[in-house]
């Protein structure tokens, strides 16, 4: 088979979304539109206490006064917020004791996604809390965790069972008014995960959650809160796929991480939402606010593999408040066809001797646009702060774009900031070299891309790394030129 530029391009264009199917599960869905009544109704539906309802309403008031941000290097038709239904729950409301009780069609969906529960359960050391649409339907390994005093449950459950923790920390890192999407999320968040690791406890397994958007036209507003108490450790995995839809689906999640003194949180994401068709129609809008706070000697690592979504707007950040705290950001962002990604991180150095590392790998193919946007801020009190940033871009073809927007604000002379950036292209010669050794072109691209992304892939927990490599392969099938 010949691989001229034209043919490669064509082949790339015919790549369809792998997980493009839709599960027909009866759902209870609210009427479209957003107003105070809807916000209150969501809160009631979830049997929340009064303070939570008030908190949501406060957020809603703020949101009404805010405008959608336009500074990102992305272009899209703004969602009509009055055309979205803000609540959808699988009909089978109660939680199940065993898998047998779960809607078989739902289980089938998991199987087609390759994340069948029974398989997951067997995967030693992985606790799975699956969120389909908005309500958690299955939780496993809870007992083992409970023995250590670890709380891992849905945020709705946490609001009811552990109100003191939720009340103390929710919105403490990402305030309701933080930004347009965070405010929206605060008003209408449907569900999400909650995790608390007690003092000195090392969480014995990777905690993972699978998110999916399933209901046509239903916005998904997840809220995640992870608290690592003094001297504790947790590794948290988040991954998702979604069925293909014609209209755009809005996703505006908020993730808040709190690492108290000497604690460490590792937060890994593999994101593969529907990126839109090859003509650029449809796809998920992914506007996410992720932020973590490090107290003294604490460490937060964000690792992300982003292959999906039509439009991505996402900057997992670290506030390095405590002395000697460490923030890390490792990212692979792949864009193909008409996808647009504007992603990066913010490292805010406040404490003394704080350190941050940023490794960003952007891979663009087709007509996509891939932007890295990063802020390194060193405040006046942050003596001896250090940052190392490396942003590498890999281009396939001549119609895609890679952009780097590094912002550096330093208010303390003792800071050491290093920034490196490279841009390269997959060459025909590299492909031919692989071909000559018996490796076909798609495999060759996967190999080259995996090599390019290696520093980040190495940061992922084992089982996730395998999944991530597969994803990279799927997202870039046949794409070089």
């Amino acid at each position: 088979m010949a691989y001229t530029e034209e043919e490669l391009k064509k082949e790339l264009e015919t790549k369809e979304y792998e997980y493009g199917f839709y599960t027909d599960i009866e759902s209870e869905t609210f009427p479209v539109g957003l107003n105070e009544d809807i916000v209150v109704a969501i809160s009631r539906k979830k049997e929340e206490p009064e303070w939570m309802t008030e908190w949501r309403l406060e957020a809603f008031k703020a949101w009404k006064e805010m405008d959608e941000p336009e500074w990102a290097n992305v272009q899209y038709a703004k969602p009509d917020f009055q055309a979205i239904s803000y609540y959808s729950a699988p009909n089978s409301k109660p939680k199940y004791d065993s898998l047998d009780e779960v809607d078989p069609e739902l289980l089938d969906t998991f199987k087609r996604l390759g994340i069948s529960l029974d398989e997951q359960k067997k995967l030693a050391g992985v606790a799975v809390d699956i969120v389909i649409d908005s309500v958690s339907v299955a939780t496993t390994f809870k007992k083992t965790l409970a023995e250590k005093g670890i709380i891992f449950c849905s945020i709705s459950e946490a609001i009811k069972e552990h109100p003191e923790l939720v009340k103390k920390y929710i919105g403490s890192i990402v305030p309701q008014k933080d930004n347009f999407y965070a405010a929206l999320n605060s008003a209408v968040f449907s569900d999400g995960s909650f995790c608390y690791i007690p003092k000195g406890v090392r969480c014995p397994m990777e905690l993972s959650t699978y998110f999916r958007i399933n209901q046509a036209g239903t916005g998904q507003f997840e809220r995640t809160l992870v608290i690592a108490d003094e001297g504790s450790y947790v590794s948290y995995l988040e991954g998702c796929t979604a069925p293909s839809r014609d209209e755009n689906q809005l996703h505006a999640a908020v993730v808040e991480l709190i690492a108290l003194d000497d604690a460490e949180i590792k937060y890994s994401t593999v994101q593969n939402w529907f990126p839109g068709g090859k003509d650029g129609v449809g796809g998920v809008f992914n506007f996410v606010t992720k932020r973590g706070l490090c107290e003294k000697n604490a460490k937060i690592s964000w690792t992300q593999v982003e292959t999906g979504s039509a439009v991505t707007w996402k900057y997992p950040s670290c506030i390095l408040k405590g002395d000697n705290s460490i923030g890390e950001f490792y990212s692979i962002a792949v864009t193909n066809n008409y996808q647009q990604a504007d992603t990066g991180t913010k490292m805010i150095h406040i404490g003394k001797n704080t350190r941050s590392t940023i490794i960003s790998k952007g891979i663009s193919a087709g007509k996509s646009q891939n932007s890295y946007r990063g802020l390194v801020q060193v405040n006046s009190r942050a003596k001896n702060a250090r940052n190392f940033s490396q942003c590498d871009s890999l281009l396939m073809g001549n119609e895609c774009g890679a952009h780097t927007f590094p912002y550096i604000e330093v208010k303390n002379k003792t800071a050491q900031i290093e920034h490196e950036a490279t841009t390269s292209k997959i060459g025909e010669d590299q492909i031919f070299y692989c071909n000559q050794r018996g490796i076909e072109t798609e495999k060759a691209i996967a190999l080259i891309v995996n090599g390019f992304s290696k520093e980040v892939l190495n940061k992922l927990p084992m089982e996730f790394a395998v999944e991530a490599q597969k994803l990279l392969e799927i997202s870039l099938e046949g794409s070089v030129g």
């Binding site: 590299q430 070299y433 050794r437 490796i439 076909e440 080259i448 090599g451 992304s453």
Partner: protein, 250 residues
């Protein structure tokens, strides 16, 4: 095994190969020599199926089958190996991972399962020892930051791993120091058998003292203008190419 008939090839409207005829049988060693730019590497690339070159006339036949419709990887699966004059860097992909992928892809093409890890390790150990390659070297990114000689030795390591039926070595000797040349040449000789064949492209007689050719061909301006035994290489070393160029014009 390999039969090249009246092969013409061009790139970007420039004719480079202008009627090559060559027959290589199992068990034979052929040397191809010729001035810079005469088309030696182009011939190697065309045999390996590089798309950049357009075959305008003639064909390449392997075991009686025209290779015209075979993609480069299919040719590789049929046992063609090219040691590149300029090996390409693949950052982040270790030599080991690259070889594992190459071997398993070839096995897949033959309907075989992946090679068991134990067997793979044994093979790697054996071949790296034969070519006196430090094991640490194999975990480095393919060709990235390799010295010229290291790249060439690594090409022959790959050849040893893949055990091709037809190996084309394009100036594998250039860049190798004296000891390395001997090690690499010995490696090639060990891999030689009555069932496979080697085509060495070189500028220097020295390599041919180690890998002794059955035939020597001179390529000039896209054509084989002279063929002979191993003594032809000596004659070239002594006299240069001018007399052949002149002969060719006559």
């Amino acid at each position: 095994m390999l039969k090249i008939n009246d092969l013409h090839a061009r790139v970007e409207d420039k004719d480079i190969l202008k009627g090559i005829n060559l027959e290589v049988n199992a068990g034979e060693v052929h040397a191809i020599m010729g001035p810079n730019g005469s088309g030696k590497s182009t011939l190697a690339s065309v045999i390996a199926g590089k798309e950049e070159f357009e075959v305008t006339q003639g064909n390449v036949v392997l075991d009686g089958e025209d290779l015209e419709d075979d993609a480069p990887e299919e040719r590789a699966h049929k046992g063609i190996f090219l040691s590149f004059q300029y090996p390409v860097e693949i950052p982040g992909v270790s030599v080991t991972n690259f070889m594992k992928t190459a071997i398993n892809e070839s096995r897949k093409a033959r309907g075989l399962e992946d090679m068991p890890a134990k067997e793979m390790l044994k093979l790697i150990r054996e071949k790296s020892e034969m070519l006196e390659i430090d094991r640490k070297f194999l975990s480095r990114s393919l060709n990235e930051g390799f010295s010229g000689g290291e790249k060439k030795r690594n090409e022959i390591f790959q050849m040893a791993m893949l055990e091709p039926r037809l190996a084309i070595l394009d100036e594998t000797d250039s860049g190798l120091d004296i000891d390395a040349l001997r090690i690499v040449a010995n490696g090639v000789n060990k891999l030689k058998s009555k069932d496979n064949a080697v085509v060495v492209i070189t500028h220097y007689q020295r390599l041919l003292e180690y890998i002794v050719p059955d035939f020597v061909h001179v390529l000039h301006n896209g054509k084989i203008v002279k063929s002979g035994g191993k003594e032809l290489a000596l004659e070239l070393e002594e006299k240069g190419y001018d007399w052949i160029k002149n002969e060719a014009v006559v």
